[in-house]
Symmetry: C2
Subunit: 187 residues, 2 copies
DNA sequence: GTCTATAGAGTGATAGAC
DNA sequence: GTCTATCACTCTATAGAC
């Protein structure tokens, strides 16, 4: 039986935090989800629950940097519009059409915001900047691109809230389609 | 010393739930915030913390019904556009430009969603329907009004997430201005 | 006495830290 | 596994209004 590695634990840890939030993710739930005893968990994360959540946030940040932010930044003028369109597909798949919560957004609304403040800020700030730059390269006026990017990134978070409250994934899909439409350049 | 009444407690209770979430709102915090001992709290809310949260949600629902949903529903064709505009002002004031969390939205993302599912669903469903009807009366095509209403109600929730994560109230104001603009009829 | 509101010690269960 | 702290909650006791 192969020994566990810290990086192998992160996806399961992330699911527990997404499903139960920071406070609701008890060590016994985490222990159950990972199959590891408390002793092993403290071996991998000496800082306890806070370090586990920080590691999860760092991994989410890394995934979005590679799969979402970088493609937006690296697109040139010719494929910037396609990169923006691809972002909506990537995001819809990641959030499973609204069935999966955005941990960063959920923590931003929760009591744990102060604990992870800078990480939450950096995630959304990087997303807005990368999207705004891609929108400009796609032909949007620079003076409105920042506001549009904020509206889109916020709109995705709102779509998650609404789809979850109404328990209807179509709402998520429909809002994302509308946002994608607003990013398209009209001749 | 005047005796407390259940209805006097609700605003303070609501603040505790908004600031700490359902799980984070411990009875000792609630006791401290209300100045009441556990005995008094269980006198008013025999069902404990869950009944407290249900009562808070019912009051929030009632406030929005009177201040937001009803004005939208009662507007006639001539003042529907003004009613929609007024909604944005009411909402911005209620959420203190993004400094205050929407308890309904936060619970929808949290572990407590299943506990309050129907209440959360009803709140957003009523908001979307009332707004959509007002948009139609203001002159929007009926076939796109539902989607626009979802985009606006979701957009407000997303604006709260983003403004809180970035810790910038201007982001909330700017997104709401953009949404209000999308509700205006263009000749 | 009854009713309503109050306070808080005490319950077992479970939390996170180690 | 062991630790202490804290959780939601119960229970008893007490106050004054009627």
């Amino acid at each position: 039986m192969a020994r566990a590695e810290r990086s192998d634990l992160l996806p399961r840890l992330a699911e527990v935090f997404r499903e139960h939030g920071y406070e609701g993710a008890s060590l016994s739930l985490i222990s159950q989800a990972t199959g590891l005893g408390k002793g092993s968990l403290y071996h991998f994360f000496p800082g306890g629950k806070e370090e586990m959540a920080q590691a999860v946030l760092a991994e989410i940040d890394g995934w979005f940097a590679a799969q979402v932010f970088r493609p937006l930044r690296e697109a040139n003028d010719a494929d910037a519009d396609a990169a923006v369109a691809a972002m909506f597909g990537t995001v819809a798949a990641y959030f499973r059409s609204g069935r999966r919560v955005c941990l960063v957004g959920a923590l931003s609304l929760s009591d744990a915001r102060d604990r992870f403040g800078e990480r939450l800020r950096a995630y959304f700030a990087e997303w807005v900047v990368a999207l705004s730059q891609a929108l400009v390269r796609a032909g949007h006026p620079p003076e409105t691109a920042d506001a549009l990017a904020e509206e889109v990134v916020g709109g995705i978070q709102g779509a998650l809230v609404l789809a979850r409250a109404l328990d209807r994934t179509e709402v998520f899909e429909r809002i994302l389609a509308g946002l994608r439409d607003r990013c398209a350049i009209r001749p």
